[in-house]
Symmetry: C2
Subunit: 165 residues, 2 copies
Amino acid sequence: MDQPVLAARLDCVRNDTAAAPVRDLSGEELAAWGGFLRAHAELTRALDAELVEAYGLPLTSYEVLLRLARAPAGSMRMSDLADSVLLSRSGLTRLIDRLAKTGLITREECQTDQRGLLAVITPAGRQLFRRAGRTHLAGVRERFLDRLSEDEQRVLARIWERLLS
Amino acid sequence: MDQPVLAARLDCVRNDTAAAPVRDLSGEELAAWGGFLRAHAELTRALDAELVEAYGLPLTSYEVLLRLARAPAGSMRMSDLADSVLLSRSGLTRLIDRLAKTGLITREECQTDQRGLLAVITPAGRQLFRRAGRTHLAGVRERFLDRLSEDEQRVLARIWERLLS
DNA sequence: AAAGATTGATGGATCAATCTTG
DNA sequence: CAAGATTGATCCATCAATCTTT
């Protein structure tokens, strides 16, 4: 059908036969960066599989339940929720659709602003969250936290804070 | 249509009204783990967008070009390639389809084993890889490596190695 | 039968366009 | 018109089933 994207892009970058001034990653740099990518991939894959296996609940859905369970009145505006779980608006809309279909979440109108909608966690949602939380926390501890010293945890926290600022 | 997954799963975990013996994450633990997730999400999102914007080349495709460019003869078996970029077999098949359609990769039969196929990077693929590599490395340095001390890089490398073993 | 690769069905995410309310 | 949310089209990944070669 299409495929024009790459072809088009190739045209705009003609003629750079000049030498490449790119220093490759050093061994240490590669270990720091590549390991980061690989560790994330393996951890999230394992944790997601674990939750799906035990409760049919993917990791992203768990994150949504987590935010709502922590929020006052168990509810949040759709936009805020989307931001907090790093999902697009439309992505969250459809995720909430799914969670609502299984009764873990309901939608409520927002009193102060008729445009807004609230996602609210149901009692069933809270119950599943509590159970899944046990599994999930155990997994995070076993695969991640328990393999780090307190010192290393502090170093990591400092690093993430710097990267995200 | 269906939705039976969650409902079914809820049934199998009846009756755990007992107290939850789950200690929540401490502040430091949360910072180490949550920051890890968040940093990964933001970094890969930005790096992917950068490559797509400049070359129409998503990050996963770039990774494939990288592996092939480094491999002897610019070629790898489909299975090995799939493993090395952490993709399922079928996922890789379709990704190679796309890359072949734009001329960055070709498929070749494997001489020693008629079952196998080789993915081979083309000259056009190498050229795009070189260009995209500059962009990508610069991005990784700017957003990640340059914000870490050498010491921190070493600590990270040690941690990833431990997590992945 | 097992291994390598592909295909069909489906899940889950995105962007762009749209609808409603402020 | 701007903001909140949803819908339509599409992209990218997975699992399960299949086909070929060993």
